[in-house]
Amino acid sequence: MDRDRRKYRTYRDKLRRANREAAYTVVALGVIAIAWLLLGFGLADSDVRIASTPLWIVGGTVGTWLVAVIVAVVLAKRVFANFDLDDRADGDD
């Protein structure tokens, strides 16, 4: 975290980082959308049932949600950087 704060000190660097994180988020949306398709429509022909519930329902709803939670955790803990949102530490402002 401290490394991130040292790395993104100026306003410009922070905005660039925010742009990159926005792009990663669009990729994450793609991952969730593909999971939604595969776990729902992709399993629609399966005869497997869990507690009398067709597999596509479990996969398409709870499965998609779990994928979204995993994506949120990966983005928040591994991809996104921590830095000061105020300008106090900026050298170029």
């Binding site: 905005l15 994180e21 926005a22 429509f41 009398s52 329902i57 949120a72 983005l75 928040a76 830095f83």
Partner: protein, 493 residues
């Protein structure tokens, strides 16, 4: 159930939220930091949990608790599968807008989304149109929330519609007027918690009345097997899936009432935590409530005509039919909290559009600096008057209320999608493109809604967004950047 015991949980909840609102306001006043920044953006002090809950509670409206589950009762698990696309809402909002809006808002000392739009494009005309769009569509949405909440109150408690409207309408208006943005955020968090508790209570009632989960699923298999298919025997066409992905999934991250929350959190850690907590909670809420709608098929097994011919009656009926008076009183706090939290968030945003974006800017243009006491009083009076207006419009409930709600949702997305996205990420975008996009897109959307015109059966938001996108591109190509556009803040060299 016209019995006072049934009202006790709701009354207690309203008192607690009102007290919380007063405490938050007093603490904020003691902390200082300027009235406008505190009242409209909470001094940018929201932590991760409150940020997540206020966003989810603002996003999850009374439709999520009544109309949506009612549709799920009629259509089946295809509706739940469609509703789950809403789990992308917070990831997109915080991931795309979160940090950039927070950095820019701090740099500009911006308090509202319109402040940011004005600075980016250097256009007062665009800012005024944005404020007008916000107020008009927010008022429409607030009326829908009040009416929806009061109707479920009437159906479940047996008390007249006006009693419910007065009870929680006045409470919502009061704690928004008193608490400001931070008060709204805290009461939203309380509402979010109560929404989940209400849902759990209703789930227990339905499962108990239906003889358990597996029994209900077997009943559905025998009586309505199409409810277990993704296309629901034609009830869920692919065009509906596609447009719902756009309307309640992909485009929601530009809704001004959500975007303003990315200007009010305290640090990046809070944003990261909110993304995780919010995605967990929104999934529980959206999958949970719509699934309960389908599971209600195991309890309400007749056709729709038997239940009054409207899917909006399903959740009230199943609540009354499966729970005791006290538990039903607890369960209806869910939809009423959803209604209150959405109204309070929209009310504070609409009020900021009038006070901050129109009045204070008008004063600044004329070199006037109103006294802080005057700003404080006028902000609270405007909030109160707007709330009273919405209350008055809700007294005689208009027809097609759920359609008005979705209409407003689509209108806001059409108006702000390209204006915000291009404003933040496309240097070439300018005021000509932004004005054309907002006015042209909204006009095309409203005209198609009024005429009932659709392309390939898809919701009119598709037309609105395409028109808005084309006009943004053409306008930005033809026009030039305004001299007072703050490009140094948005795209520093």
């Amino acid at each position: 159930m016209t019995d006072l015991i049934g009202l006790a949980p709701l009354a207690l909840f309203l008192v607690v939220t009102l007290v919380a609102s007063v405490i938050v306001r007093r603490r904020a006043a003691r902390a200082g930091g300027g009235f406008v920044k505190d009242y409209f953006i909470g001094n940018r002090a929201l932590g991760g949990f409150v940020l997540a809950m206020t966003t989810v509670a603002t996003y999850g409206s009374v439709s999520s608790f009544v109309g949506g589950p009612g549709q799920a009762w009629e259509i089946g698990f295809g509706w739940v599968y469609m509703a789950v696309v809403q789990v992308t809402a917070l990831v997109l909002l915080y991931g795309i807008m979160g940090k950039k809006m927070a950095l820019i808002a701090r740099k500009l000392d911006a308090v509202t989304v319109v402040d940011v739009v004005r600075a980016r494009y250097g256009s007062n005309a665009l800012a005024n149109v944005s404020a007008l769009v916000v107020v008009v569509f927010f008022v429409a949405t607030m009326v829908a929330q009040f009416v929806g909440g009061a109707k479920i109150f009437e159906a479940v408690t047996g008390y007249p519609y006006l009693v419910g409207l007065t009870l929680f309408g006045i409470a919502a208006i009061l704690f928004t007027t008193i608490g400001g943005f931070r008060g709204v955020a805290v009461t939203d968090a309380l509402c979010g918690i109560m929404m989940i508790i209400g849902m759990v209570v209703l789930a227990l009632g339905i499962l108990n009345a239906g003889g358990g989960y597996e029994n209900i699923m077997q009943t559905i298999q025998e009586t309505a097997p199409h409810k277990l298919e993704p296309f629901s025997g034609g009830g869920m066409p692919w065009t509906l899936y596609l447009t719902q992905w756009l309307l309640v999934g992909v485009f929601t991250f530009v809704l001004p009432q959500s975007v303003v929350r990315t200007m009010g959190y305290k640090d990046t850690k809070a944003l990261h935590n909110a993304m995780i907590v919010g995605t967990v909670v929104i999934g529980i809420m959206m999958i949970g409530m719509t699934s309960l709608g389908v599971l209600a098929s195991g309890v309400l097994t007749e056709d729709l005509a038997t239940y009054g011919g409207s899917v909006d009656n399903i959740i009230p009926l199943v609540t009354v039919g499966t729970l005791s008076a006290v538990l039903a009183g607890l369960a209806i706090i869910g939809p009423i909290a959803a209604s209150i939290s959405t109204v309070s968030s929209l009310l504070i945003s609409a009020s900021s559009a009038i006070v901050k974006d129109l009045y204070l800017h008008w004063c600044a243009d004329r070199g006037r600096q109103p006294a802080e006491r005057c700003v404080a009083a006028s902000s609270q009076v405007i909030t109160l008057v707007l709330g009273a207006l919405v209350f008055a419009l809700s007294v005689v409930p208009p027809d097609l209320i759920w359609k008005i709600n979705m209409f407003a949702f689509g209108g806001l997305e059409t108006a702000f999608f390209f204006v915000l996205v291009c404003g933040l990420f496309w240097k070439r975008a300018n005021r000509t493109g932004a004005l054309a996009s907002m006015i042209g897109g909204v006009a095309a959307y409203c005209a198609c809604m009024a005429a009932g015109f659709k392309v390939a059966g898809m919701h009119q938001i598709v037309i609105g967004i395409v028109v808005a996108g084309v006009l943004m591109a053409v306008g930005s190509w033809i026009g030039a950047q305004a001299k007072n556009a703050r490009m140094d803040v948005f795209f520093p060299e």
